[in-house]
Symmetry: C2
Subunit: 314 residues, 2 copies
Amino acid sequence: MSLAELVLEGNIRAAARLMRDIDDCRPQAIDELKQLYSRTGNAYIIGITGPPGAGKSTLVDQLTASFRTRGKKVGVVAIDPTSPFTGGAILGDRIRMNRHSCDEGVFIRSLATRGALGGLSRSTSDVALVMDALGMDIVIIETVGVGQDEVDIVKEAHTTCVVMVPGLGDDIQAIKAGILEIGDIFVVNKADRDGADRTARELSTMLEMRQATAGQWNPQVMKTEAQRGTGIEELTDEILAHRDSLLSSGSISNFLRERNQRHFMDVLRDTLFKKALAYMATDDTLERVVTGMGERRTDPYSAVEELVSKLMPV
Amino acid sequence: MSLAELVLEGNIRAAARLMRDIDDCRPQAIDELKQLYSRTGNAYIIGITGPPGAGKSTLVDQLTASFRTRGKKVGVVAIDPTSPFTGGAILGDRIRMNRHSCDEGVFIRSLATRGALGGLSRSTSDVALVMDALGMDIVIIETVGVGQDEVDIVKEAHTTCVVMVPGLGDDIQAIKAGILEIGDIFVVNKADRDGADRTARELSTMLEMRQATAGQWNPQVMKTEAQRGTGIEELTDEILAHRDSLLSSGSISNFLRERNQRHFMDVLRDTLFKKALAYMATDDTLERVVTGMGERRTDPYSAVEELVSKLMPV
């Protein structure tokens, strides 16, 4: 049996193997994904994003427990900040959520923020697809919400929760404003800390200033203490309420269309570039261009034009 | 005269105009960059990166003043976290470094983290190139050091300063480990805060654990209070010491080679994708594929293979 067939039967080891192949950019992973694709589209994807130190991992751990209690299988894709030189995720799968480690209904996978630009959003889509095929009802994508990459990843999610904490300094204000538009639900975590009420009020005020459209989802600010489990059931209920709203308003179809288009574009960008790299491996273009640039004889723009007109004659 | 010629004469308004064209992805900007390219490669690029709340903007402001005192012209490219929906940088040029606003030897430009993946690193290179052509001796690139995009941007810099502050919470540890390899100099800012000495000691210990190679640059941990200007001259001296080390050890040539190769690759990836988009604008491929994906009849991997074999027959 192919890996894809095994994954569709719920084989966890096959899924782990396929994800590793995706991570390593092995070409055969693509063939497996092709086989899987028609059987996906069933998982509900939740994005959890926020600045470092907001307690996102603990919150994801609690949400996982909450959905398990409600009988749902839960996949978690944690995007970890990586060492750009040594590769590899810093917070590995192993130190995450030990308490779910014996639960067959939970599948956790860390993805490192390494590799080519644009690759992260692509491999997150692919890994989420495998979890979907494996039969996970809920897939939680956790990411540090600062860079553009991270914001793009969150667009995968049906429901995006933006997690804030009180007192993370001034720059946070800017980021807060920046991610205001992508949040379906806002969470002030560590709500026992000084300033939690103020942070929640500020967020509410900022949200109210946005023009509310009739019939549109109205994001709420929730308070949690993930460490103690406080506010988690309410957050789970709110996520499900957002899902109901997406379905009943019909806005789900636009969302899915955009997500599919983005996925197609990601694969396209990646494939074009890889084919060009493979072509360059067979001749001396790269060497010639880079040496010419060093001597300022060649500029990269003209060099690329020449190469692309050869590679893509259309 | 072309914009490129005006920029090479030191015309600030022409530079601002060209940067706007780059930001808007106007094709004519490429022609200007081609003209500029042979006259660039003179500016020394300094990267300033660190988590939100580390006081990077203030530090950049002080470094700018310090280099001005030493008779250097300074360009600043500040990468601001952006609203992914509304576009536009949140902290605009206007609220940055007002005190340099009347100084012709300082040129400040904010870049928003929007647009296509991979685009940020590309436009940062291009904007830095314009500042170089304009005659800036020093170009400071300031970025929030969390995402992969941001890390890639920092690779542009001859000297990278990683800025930390005491007491930003646990996740910071992970990021600290992640950016340990990219720092040439480490700065503990807000050094008057509780825990500053401990943060500096921890950083030093982590740096000592890395294997030191004979003749290689040995990153130091500096303490600053950017608000008061404390430690700035020492930091400037350390940056210049790192430059001397790059030049005398000869490692500059490898660095420049890698940077040129990366720039070429960025332009290539971008150009290939744009040409494919232009092609798709003329037929119904996109519509057909996205609709097929929605019905799970078409998978994106097979659709891309088909398209790419048509576009790139080589």
